[in-house]
């Protein structure tokens, strides 16, 4: 914007950069502190000024997380739940999105409006009746209690996929129909590859939803062995309130996978998020 002014833009650009870089340090500092603290001996955790690079590095905290807690189980459960959630969100919402965009059937608009209206229902309101339902069905303390709602109905994901399929030209569908192509083939072979980028964006968003899911496992899973990371590491704080190095090791291991996925696929992240903003 300031390109037209002489001399000034360069200075402004520098000032801007320095300012933003300083603030970005505040943004990232908690995460760096977490990693650095997880490698320290407890006695050195709160030394001030902060030693960002520990004087003596120890892996004890990490080891302790695995021996004192069923951390490996939590990891496994989290990975399994996340995998189930990502896969089924992609499948279920792309199928529904395809139908809403490209198939004519009775009541279609009404059902879609109902789906969209459900975006207004806060998830918190559904916890109690879901708990009662799971109790009736004997699903308390099973993975199903956590993953089923994600597997079957995520309104936002259906909305996103419908938008993507709508952009696929109708001529393609018509041509396929004339060739005698069935609806399933139309969906899976012809149109699905065309919405690949939305699928990737949605897949990555779903990954964070699944990985960071907290309230449902907190409420529906009571057996600590069957728990997931989000709830597990929160229990570190309750059980080892004053062992901060241990807490940080637990937190670091829970965060590393999401951060890695984010760094690798951030382009899709930002695309997915930006699309979510456009709905407003």
């Amino acid at each position: 914007m300031n390109n037209t002014l002489h001399g000034k833009p360069m200075v402004w650009k520098l000032i801007n950069t320095v300012l933003l870089a300083l603030i970005s340090i505040i943004m990232i500092a908690p995460v760096l502190w977490m990693v650095s603290t997880s490698l320290k001996f407890e006695s050195e955790v709160f030394n001030f000024p902060i030693q960002w690079i520990p004087e003596s590095v120890t892996w004890d905290n990490y080891q302790k997380a695995f021996t004192e807690f069923p951390y490996l189980n939590w990891y496994f459960n989290t990975i399994r739940n996340t995998a189930i959630i990502v896969f089924s969100i992609l499948l279920v919402s792309s199928m529904a999105g395809f139908a809403f965009a490209k198939i004519q059937f009775k009541g279609k608009n009404l059902i879609f409006i109902a789906y969209i209206a459900s975006l207004m229902i806060p998830g918190e309101m559904r916890l109690i009746p879901q708990f009662m339902l799971y109790k009736e069905l004997g699903l308390i303390n099973t993975t199903w209690a956590v993953v089923l709602p994600w597997m079957l109905f995520v309104a936002f994901a259906i909305f996103l996929m419908k938008q993507a399929f709508t952009a696929v030209p109708d001529e393609l569908i018509e041509a396929a129909k004339i060739d005698g192509c069935g609806y399933f083939k139309m969906y899976a072979v012809i149109t699905l590859p065309l919405v690949k980028s939305t699928l990737v964006a949605l897949g990555i968003l779903s990954f964070t939803w699944g990985w960071n899911d907290y309230t449902a496992p907190l409420i529906y899973i009571q057996d600590i062995q069957k728990q997931v990371l989000t709830v597990g590491i929160a229990s570190f704080k309750a059980q080892y309130a004053s062992n901060y190095a241990l807490q940080m090791a637990g937190a670091t291991m829970a965060l590393v996978p999401v951060i890695l996925v984010y760094l690798i696929a951030q382009k899709y992240f930002t695309e997915g998020i930006a699309q979510s903003g456009i709905k407003g």
Partner: protein, 295 residues
């Protein structure tokens, strides 16, 4: 032709079947069941047989409950303080990021990072950072000569603000990203015209940028208002609502009543009132979109 049509309808239903089951079981049924429960004095151990219909009693009790009211007041405080601060910071930073800057991509990556982090993991990090005696934050404050540093999560006055700091930190990146998308959509010709007229940077920000991103500001204000009203994990992990009820939120209260005291009737009534509040915010969005937004 008739068969053809039937096939199309049938295919349509088959494709939406899983989501229709999910919608019925995890959306429709819970809503209806919530309303039913909210009218009952529900006995968790004996089920329907041991429960009695109490009409609107649960609703009246909710408004008399000091924990609920405490939570409501805290939620309103978050709405009035945390949400505007979040939006102002986000717009300022988005504006800076959108202007001439080195390493734009890297900066954006860092700003957005907190948003994808697991709440419980970063919540325990913040709880440690803001530790009242040993934490680095107070270490820093003492080092610059502030003797009576706040006791953060350990004090009645500071527990909610501390949670808000964490909440703002975590959601800032999301708001920046949405604002950035809006800023990038503003045609540079507006700024060029203003420059010819000799407008300063600040004038340009208030006269061009602010009005033109107002739809986005509005969208974010509503989204974040709903988000702040739904605050739960932060409270559960960082303070358990304490000290006292100083950091209670509505959802935390509902959680306690439902899953620690198993008072399902009362908790359902509270959650329906919670839903009505959210609905009111959404309605304001609907109505306001036309009125308050200047394009």
């Amino acid at each position: 032709m008739q068969i053809h049509r039937f096939k199309e309808h049938f295919a349509g239903y088959m494709f939406i079947l899983p989501s229709l089951i999910g919608f019925t079981a995890f959306m429709l049924y819970p809503i209806i069941y919530s309303i039913f429960l909210s009218l009952m004095d529900w006995n968790m151990y004996q089920g329907f047989g041991g429960s009695t219909f109490v009409g609107l009693d649960n609703y009246l009790e909710v408004f008399k409950n000091e924990y609920f009211m405490g939570g409501l007041i805290n939620n309103i405080k978050l709405l009035v303080f945390a949400v505007p601060i979040l939006l102002m910071l986000a717009l300022t930073l988005a504006h800076l990021l959108n202007s001439q800057v080195f390493g734009k991509g890297a900066l954006r990556t860092v700003y957005f990072l907190p948003y994808i982090t697991t709440i419980t993991a970063t919540a325990i990090v913040f709880a440690a950072l803001f530790h009242e005696e040993l934490g680095p934050v107070n270490g820093f404050l003492r080092s610059i000569g502030i003797e009576n540093a706040p006791r953060w999560l350990g004090s009645v006055e500071w527990s909610l603000p501390t949670i808000s700091i964490f909440w703002v930190w975590r959601n800032l990146g999301y708001c920046i990203l949405i604002f950035l998308a809006g800023l990038q959509a503003i045609s540079p010709s507006y700024y060029e015209a203003a420059e010819i007229d000799g407008a300063s940077g600040i004038q340009k920000f208030f006269r061009i940028t602010m009005p033109l991103v107002s739809p986005i500001t509005f969208f974010l204000a509503v989204t974040m208002a709903i988000f702040s009203f739904s605050m739960f994990a932060e409270v559960k992990v960082m303070t358990e609502g304490g000290p006292g009820t100083s950091s209670y939120t509505i959802v935390y209260h509902i959680y306690k009543e439902a899953f620690e005291r198993y008072d399902m009737g009362y908790a359902s009534a509270a959650s329906i009132i919670f839903f009505i509040i959210i609905l009111a915010i959404t309605t304001i969005q609907w109505l306001g979109q036309k009125k308050w937004v200047n394009y």
